[in-house]
């Protein structure tokens, strides 16, 4: 599993307004284009989770939780009510417990 690369992807999207906008507009397209420029590669599961903005699966994989929440808030904020997003995120995280997030 290339958790590091998933963290790197979230880091880029979270910190750059342009990348954030491009990803939200077309998640699979942005993921594919970004990965092309990287020497490391995602596993199929990681790629699928990023294409779906699937924070529950990403959390369960053990990506960095601090970064994941900030990323999740950034890429869902225009489509989901924040209270609802917090509730759903926490419910999904609770199912996975506390995966080791060391890279």
């Amino acid at each position: 599993m290339s958790k590091y690369l998933v963290n790197k992807f979230m880091h880029v999207v979270n910190m750059n307004e342009e990348a954030e906008g491009a990803y939200v507009e077309n998640p699979p397209g942005f993921v594919a284009q970004w990965e092309k420029g990287e020497r490391l590669k995602f596993t199929p599961e990681e790629r699928r989770a990023l294409e779906r903005r699937d924070y529950g699966s990403l959390y369960a994989m053990g990506v960095h939780p601090f970064l994941l929440w900030s990323f999740t808030e950034a890429v869902w904020r225009t489509e989901m009510d924040r209270e609802e997003l917090v509730r759903d995120y926490k419910a999904k995280a609770a199912v996975a417990g506390y995966p080791d997030f060391e890279t």
């Binding site: 963290n7 790197k8 880091h11 979270n14 910190m15 939780p65 900030s70 926490k90 995280a93």
Partner: protein, 286 residues
């Protein structure tokens, strides 16, 4: 000789500056603001010429591609903060003067004492320094020397190493030849969860950890803290509880002096830390 005139330890909760400006505030917010005002008054009273600001970058400038355990910013001006912190927390962008000469002295003095800090001549500070400055010195007119730790991306340095680096910082301060008045501003937290199943709960995450942690600071008990503060032990108290380690560095800087204030404030949030060490009389160390 330089003098360490005060050291303050406070929260860097990035949601608080915006929260305190809102008309409707949760019941505990007033208590937090009272303590912040008290800390601001302490800093003003001791009139430091320079502030060594200790915090931790939150995967902004430093990332797992190149992660320093401890680093010093080496600039005469520091910019804060990053796009995502403006977006998520509504933090203001700011510029803080830096004391470049002191940055270099601290870096070189630490090398001589066996602590090999990384350094950065292009450092942007995030909420771990911006928020404490907004709280205790909103004028942002005292030059800073920023020190950043890794207490967010495991594997982390040991708890004892945080303390030892604090000891080395104090030794450098005590050996500085000029008469500067040095303040230290440390930020961190007690038990806390971000991005896990318990995030944003308006309660203490782990009151038992908080009480023990405040006790270690109060008594200067680094042995007990070192025994109980590795990542595996801290995550059950809240997945980001490791931010407490910055206060163990403060304990090292204090060098056995008792704090004049030590508290994990229960204000209806995860505990809000407030620590202070102060010079008791002019000319005397902490």
């Amino acid at each position: 000789m330089a003098q360490l005139v005060t050291m303050l330890g406070i929260t860097h909760n990035p949601f608080m500056p915006r929260l305190f400006k809102q008309a409707q505030q949760p019941p505990g917010a007033a208590k937090v603001q009272e303590r912040i005002a008290m800390m601001r008054a302490k800093l003003a009273h001791h009139k430091p010429d320079v502030l060594i600001t200790i915090g931790n970058d939150h995967l902004h400038q430093f990332f797992m591609d190149n992660m320093p355990a401890f680093m010093i910013g080496k600039m005469d001006r520091f910019h804060g903060t990053f796009y995502d912190e403006v977006r998520e927390f509504g933090l203001p962008e700011c510029d803080v003067p830096g004391d470049l000469e002191m940055c270099n002295r601290l870096l070189e003095g630490a090398y001589e004492r066996g602590v090999d800090f990384a350094y950065s001549s292009e450092l942007t500070i995030d909420h771990s320094i911006v928020v404490p400055m907004l709280f205790v010195r909103p004028e942002m007119d005292i030059p800073i020397v920023p020190i950043l730790t890794n207490c967010i991306a495991p594997p982390l340095p040991t708890a004892r190493r945080f303390y030892e680096v604090g000891r080395a910082i104090r030794s450098v301060i005590d050996g500085l030849p000029d008469g500067k008045r040095i303040g230290v501003l440390v930020s961190g937290h007690l038990s806390l969860e971000v991005g896990g199943p318990k995030q944003f709960e308006r309660r203490l995450m782990d009151p038992d950890f908080d009480a023990r942690a405040v006790g270690w600071i109060t008594t200067g008990d680094i042995d007990a803290a070192a025994r109980d503060c590795n990542v595996e032990q801290m995550v059950p108290s809240g997945n980001m509880t490791m931010g407490f380690l910055n206060f163990l560095m403060a304990m090292g800087v204090a060098g056995g002096a008792s704090p004049t204030h030590a508290e994990g404030l229960d204000a209806g949030f995860p505990a809000v830390p407030f620590f202070a060490w102060e010079q008791k009389e002019e000319g005397a160390g902490l």
